[in-house]
């Protein structure tokens, strides 16, 4: 891994503190995000040839659709919910791109 020669021990300390804040704070953010997205889908992928069926979708009091995951003994997540969070659709534009998306 390439590392920068510019950093001092103080820089490193700040970076570690930053990472700690990000990894702890993201838990709160991920839970909070449940109330902030427009839609989500939960599927059951049961391994059959056509095994994609909608499942475990409920609607919360605030009208936001949430998907409940298994919350018993296996495959648990820390908040008990699993979502994909939508965003505004991209828009068509012109000009040189800042970056290219693609597989790597």
């Amino acid at each position: 891994m390439k590392t920068s020669a510019r950093r001092s021990p103080a820089d490193r300390d700040r970076a570690i503190a930053r990472l700690r804040a990000l990894t702890i704070g993201s838990s709160i953010a991920s839970i909070a995000a449940v109330g902030g997205f427009g839609a989500m889908a939960a599927l059951t992928y049961d391994g059959s040839p056509n095994g994609i069926t909608t499942a475990a979708v409920t609607t919360a009091d605030n009208g936001v659709t949430t998907g409940t995951t298994r919350t018993t003994t296996t495959g648990t997540t820390s908040s008990g919910t699993a979502t994909t969070t939508a965003t505004a659709a991209p828009t068509t534009t012109t000009g040189t791109a800042h970056a290219a998306t693609g597989s790597s």
Binding site: M1, K2, T3, S4, R6, R7, D11, R12, A15, R18, L19, R20, L22, T23, I24, S26, S30, F37, A39, M40, A41, A42, L43, T44, Y45, D46, G47, I52, A55, G67, R70, T74, G75, T76, T77, S78, T81, A82, T83, T84, T85, A86, T87, A88, A89, P90, T91, T92, T93, T94, G95, T96, A97, H98, A99, A100, T101, G102, S103, S104
Partner: protein, 336 residues
């Protein structure tokens, strides 16, 4: 201020950092620190990584660093949100198809291998404590955080870079950053005028100024999964890195590439990978989820869903080959 850019390589892939109204060096330093921490936490290809140690202790309750705990949590969420189409328990399957080292070392043609394919164990074989400090993985199961891990690295890098820039900025509210980690793009802070312009490609090594469809996003993330790039051959078997959980082999999908925009890069990458795995069902799933997506079929035809814009785009390149995990020199055992 015009955006400024830095490019380098980390985690076996290209990194692009673009900043507006911020200190590029401070941002790069923050991204490098995040990627170094990610490499140590969940690289499959270094013996001293935390996840390699975890996989070696399958069956035991293992303490986790905050970063690996966060990553496993994200992977389990991805599995739940996709009904298991994107699943972190593909470690053994990856090794079975020959993806057992950094890709630069396996991409060259090699002799045939015996493929013993079987459904992956499934994310339900992983128990993560509520505070993400401990995990227990069923004996014989190996985790590979794959696309979710890369997406999380992009999200964390963008967030860290923004904080680092704001620490030294005179106008912190104007700072903005884009991080592309192998084409998985996360943005944070303010966007430049007109938004972050992103070239939609199948290969993240495509130069950003190459011709093609360019879209703009103001915030969030955009990621692409494809069967066309990380491919290799063993004997006559044509393999790639996207695993079908039902078979444990390279997925045989009607889509060769999927690009998805979402609020986070974890979600974008999860949905992009899930789209390849879900195949024809992906269109309905993406629509229900409200995720803007661009799907490229094997013949190069493009399907746009969820509000993805219709550009005056040039035709896609000619057909790309599909996977052939059962080449004539390979033996395939389906099921357990």
């Amino acid at each position: 201020m015009e955006p400024r850019t830095a490019d380098w390589r980390a985690l076996g892939t290209g990194v692009r950092l673009v900043v507006v109204d911020g200190d590029l060096d401070a941002a790069r330093s923050a991204v490098e620190d995040i990627l170094a921490a990610v490499d140590l936490a969940y690289s499959r290809f270094r013996d001293d990584s935390e996840i390699v140690g975890l996989n070696a202790r399958a069956g035991a309750v293992v303490a986790l660093s905050p970063l690996l705990g966060r990553a496993i949590d994200a992977a389990l969420r991805a599995a739940a949100a996709t009904g298991g189409a994107v699943d972190p328990t593909v470690g053994r399957a990856m090794r079975a198809i020959g993806y057992d080292a950094d890709f630069d070392r396996i991409r060259n043609p090699a002799g045939p291998i015996e493929l013993r394919l079987e459904p992956i164990p499934g994310w339900q074989s992983v128990r993560l404590s509520a505070n993400r400090s401990e995990v227990q993985v069923r004996r014989g199961v190996e985790l590979d955080l794959g696309s979710v891990g890369k997406g999380l690295a992009s999200d964390l890098s963008a967030a860290a870079a923004l904080v680092a820039m704001q620490d030294v900025a005179t106008a912190p509210d104007r700072c903005g950053v884009l991080v592309s980690l192998g084409g998985d793009i996360a943005c944070a802070g303010s966007a430049p005028d007109g938004g972050w312009r992103i070239l939609i490609s199948e290969d993240s090594d495509t130069p950003a100024d190459a011709p093609g469809e360019v879209v703009a996003i103001q915030t969030g993330a955009l990621a692409t999964s494809s069967t066309t790039v990380r491919r290799w051959r063993r004997g006559d078997a044509d393999l790639h890195h996207l695993i079908d959980p039902r078979t444990g082999g390279s997925v045989d999908s009607p889509w060769r590439t999927a690009s998805v925009a979402a609020a986070s890069c974890v979600d974008a990458n999860t949905a992009a990978t899930a789209s390849i795995v879900l195949g024809d069902a992906a269109v309905a799933w993406l629509g229900t989820a409200g995720l803007p997506a661009r799907l490229v079929a094997r013949d190069g035809s493009v399907t746009r869903v969820g509000g993805w814009p219709e550009p005056d785009d040039p035709p896609e390149p000619a057909d790309a080959p599909g996977p052939n995990p059962a080449g004539p020199e390979s033996s395939v055992v389906l099921g357990t």
